[in-house]
């Protein structure tokens, strides 16, 4: 009589979290750095290289002296996924002029996982959702790009930096190693998928619930009284130890939807 939950089918939904992160980065500067005035980029200074060479983008060479440089840091987030930090020198993020002409020392960054482009960055910080990285070891790479989407390069080699990253699968990333049970729920148009079911959990186990919604809302785990803000496109992650027995509902506040029921015994 009781429909059993259908789990894990929706992990891909979390990919929506990879929408470009803009905003709180560096403010555009009105000061021109050396060698970055408004002259059109010309001949010897920066020559577009062969097309489709680097993730579908041509390179644009600049002299080694005064060329931008980049480092990449990947930190695990305390709740979900990773925070990616791009430390660029002699380089300014210019999201407001993207699509325009290439100006040395300006542009945006591209993020690649094992050579596959997964995000464009308009600011030095980017949150990487757990579902973006499949299980196992991978390489995360950042390249600096000009406003015209050519990749800045020195001597034909892209200005880039890489860092290892370890995906842990099942839609759960860092914390999934600790979570014994992961529940993924998606809300779209007032419908919950998979439809609300019951998840049996042994008392004392770690539970992780990932909710993706299309409207701002609040996710509430009854009984454990945990709330998380839900923003469209970004999975809200609730993780806790099921240390009380009973049947508890996971609900949203504004849309008043029951997402799933936890049967803890």
């Amino acid at each position: 009589m009781t429909p059993r939950p259908r789990r894990g089918a929706v992990a891909a939904a979390a990919l929506a979290a990879l929408a470009a992160v803009a905003g709180c980065g560096e403010r555009p500067t009105t000061h021109h750095r050396p060698g970055s005035d408004h002259r059109p980029v010309s001949g010897t200074v920066s020559t577009p290289g062969p097309a489709h060479e680097h993730g579908g983008h041509r390179t644009r060479d600049v002299p080694a002296a005064g060329a931008p440089a980049v480092r990449l840091e990947v930190r695990r987030d305390s709740e979900s996924g990773w925070n990616v930090h791009v430390i660029a020198e002699r380089f300014t993020f210019t999201p407001e002029s993207v699509g325009g002409a290439a100006l040395p020392g300006t542009g945006h960054a591209h993020l690649y996982l094992d050579g596959e482009k997964i995000a464009r960055m308009y600011a030095p910080w980017h949150h990487l959702a757990p579902a973006a990285v499949p299980p196992g070891p991978h390489t995360l790479t950042v390249r600096l790009s000009a406003d015209d989407h050519t990749i800045w390069s020195v001597g034909g080699k892209p200005v880039e930096a890489s860092a290892p990253i370890e995906g842990e699968g099942g839609g759960g990333a860092t914390a999934a190693a600790k979570a014994d049970e992961t529940i993924t729920v998606r809300i779209a148009g007032g419908r919950v998928s998979p439809p609300p079911g019951r998840v049996e959990i042994a008392k004392g186990r770690r539970v992780r619930i990932e909710v993706t919604g299309d409207k701002p809302d609040t996710v509430h785990v009854h009984g454990f009284d945990i709330e998380r803000a839900l923003t469209p496109g970004t999975p809200a992650v609730v993780e806790f130890t099921a240390d009380r027995t009973g049947l508890f509902e996971v609900e949203t506040h504004d849309s008043r939807l029951v997402l799933t029921q936890l049967v803890v015994r």
């Binding site: 009589m1 009781t2 429909p3 007032g190 419908r191 919950v192 439809p195 609300p196 079911g197 019951r198 609040t218 509430h220 009854h222 009984g223 009284d225 709330e227 009380r244 027995t245 009973g246 049947l247 508890f248 509902e249 609900e251 949203t252 506040h253 504004d254 008043r256 939807l257 029951v258 029921q261 049967v263 803890v264 015994r265």
Partner: protein, 440 residues
């Protein structure tokens, strides 16, 4: 903490925790016991009616009766009822509109509504002693000079009570925000106006038959070992005699069916399938829930009507619908205990904690404001055991009461065959109740 600050829909008005589905073994053991007792009952129970209703009972000493009937006792109970009602009203009016901090919702849905069941089981029709509407009516009657004292129309029977119970369970189980102060104030405001008007028209006898909570308490109280004999003496009696004294009246079957069906709906409304139906239905969750609640009442009533009809055909006395209504009371009480036992034991604690600070001002009236609810007060095993025992005990009591009534109503030769449809009915209710505990 059990309530969402957003005031989202909560089970039975309050409480964040639902009971676990019972282990399958408990359900099967309960079902087996119920079936076994039913057939054993058919074979070995007495052939002559034994229960004597209001004639039965062993009188308590006069001293006890005098103390119970004393004016002081009655006035104290009245004052307590008024005090508790006034306290709840004040908290709902002036306290924070957050059931997490306001005691009103817990008072109404746990202490009052659920607490009435054990109180009535122990002491009989307690609500008529504390019902705050009675003293308010007396005061109004004095002020207006309308001192009516006559019997409400017979055809009205228990129908106002049945409708009142249905309306209250609708508030508890279907209304969008059952725990919000506004919901409680509007509902009880309307209820008080209606019943005070009825009482002004007919006098205090209006409450005996038409006040939903008095009727509820009185019906459950028939199972109490304490009762009043026909000669007015306070007696200790066999609960079966108390049950036998339920007098058939219009709306009695409806009242019992509402008790049974709304409790069943409460269990069913936890089932993921119904949760999903509620939130995907095009007509919205409130309309869907209302239809579901009405369908549950209709289903339970229809089953009763069919089985009583069949019993009448077999036994040779058709049409006596209310003749067996009393035998459903223990089954309904079994459902109530099964569904609300843990709520009373666990959420009931919260009433005493929240009562210390009714207005959210940092008061600590009773020194309990800093306590927390002990969720482990009863283990899941204890809850499951209580649930199954309550359902099966209700079934056994119902079977015995129905047997005694059928040997009285039907000619001896047809009494056993005549009660088979009733056994079928009770087995249906009992297996249905166990299924709800197991799977919903």
């Amino acid at each position: 903490m059990p309530y969402g600050p957003g005031g989202e829909v909560l089970a039975h008005g309050v409480g964040a925790r639902h009971d676990l589905p019972i282990p399958a073994f408990y359900a099967f053991a309960g079902a087996f016991a119920a079936l076994f007792v039913s057939f054993l009952g058919l074979a070995v129970l007495w052939a002559e009616s034994r229960f004597r209703g209001r004639e039965a009972g062993r009188a308590l000493p006069y001293g006890v009766q005098r103390a119970a009937d004393a004016r002081g006792t009655r006035l104290t109970l009245r004052a307590l009822g008024l005090l508790a009602g006034g306290f709840t009203l004040a908290a709902a009016l002036f306290g924070p509109d957050d059931p997490d901090r306001n005691p009103a919702a817990t008072f109404v849905y746990v202490l009052f509504w659920v607490g009435l069941v054990p109180a009535s089981l122990l002491f009989g029709p307690v609500w008529r002693q504390v019902n705050p509407l009675r003293p308010i009516h007396l005061a109004l009657a004095r002020v207006t000079g309308r001192r009516a004292d006559r019997e409400p129309p017979r055809w009205l029977g228990y129908w106002p009570a049945a409708l009142g119970l249905l309306a209250f369970t609708w508030l508890e189980l279907v209304a969008p925000e059952p725990a919000a102060s506004a919901s409680i104030l509007i509902w009880f405001g309307g209820y008080a106006v209606l019943h005070l008007a009825g009482a002004l028209a007919y006098g205090p006898r209006w409450f005996d038959r038409c006040d939903a909570f008095e009727v509820y308490s009185a019906l459950i109280g028939r199972l109490s070992p304490l009762g009043r004999r026909s000669d007015g003496r306070l007696v200790v009696r066999n609960p079966f005699d108390g049950l036998d004294s339920v007098a058939p009246a219009p709306g009695l079957v409806a009242t019992v069916c509402v008790m049974l069906a709304t409790t069943a709906y409460d269990g069913f409304s936890d089932a993921p399938a119904w949760v999903n139906t509620l939130q995907t239905a095009a007509i919205g969750p409130v309309a869907t829930g209302t239809l579901g609640l009405l369908a549950a009442v209709a289903g339970v009533s229809l089953l009763y009507g069919l089985c009583i009809g069949a019993a009448g055909l077999i036994g040779g006395r058709g049409g006596n619908l209310a003749g067996f209504a009393h035998s459903l009371v223990p089954i309904a009480v079994g459902y109530l205990v099964a569904h609300y036992f843990s709520l009373l034991v666990i959420e009931g604690q919260r009433a005493f904690i929240l009562a210390s600070d009714p207005f959210g001002t940092g008061l600590d009236l009773f020194g309990t404001a800093g306590l927390t609810v002990d969720e482990a007060a009863v283990s899941p095993g204890v809850i499951a055991t209580v649930q199954v025992v309550a359902i099966v005990a209700g079934h056994v009591l119902g079977v015995v009461a129905a047997h005694d009534r059928s040997v009285r109503l039907f000619p001896a030769a047809k009494a056993v065959a005549g009660q088979i449809p009733l056994f079928v009915l009770m087995v249906c209710y009992t297996l249905g109740g166990l299924t709800l505990l197991l799977a919903a």
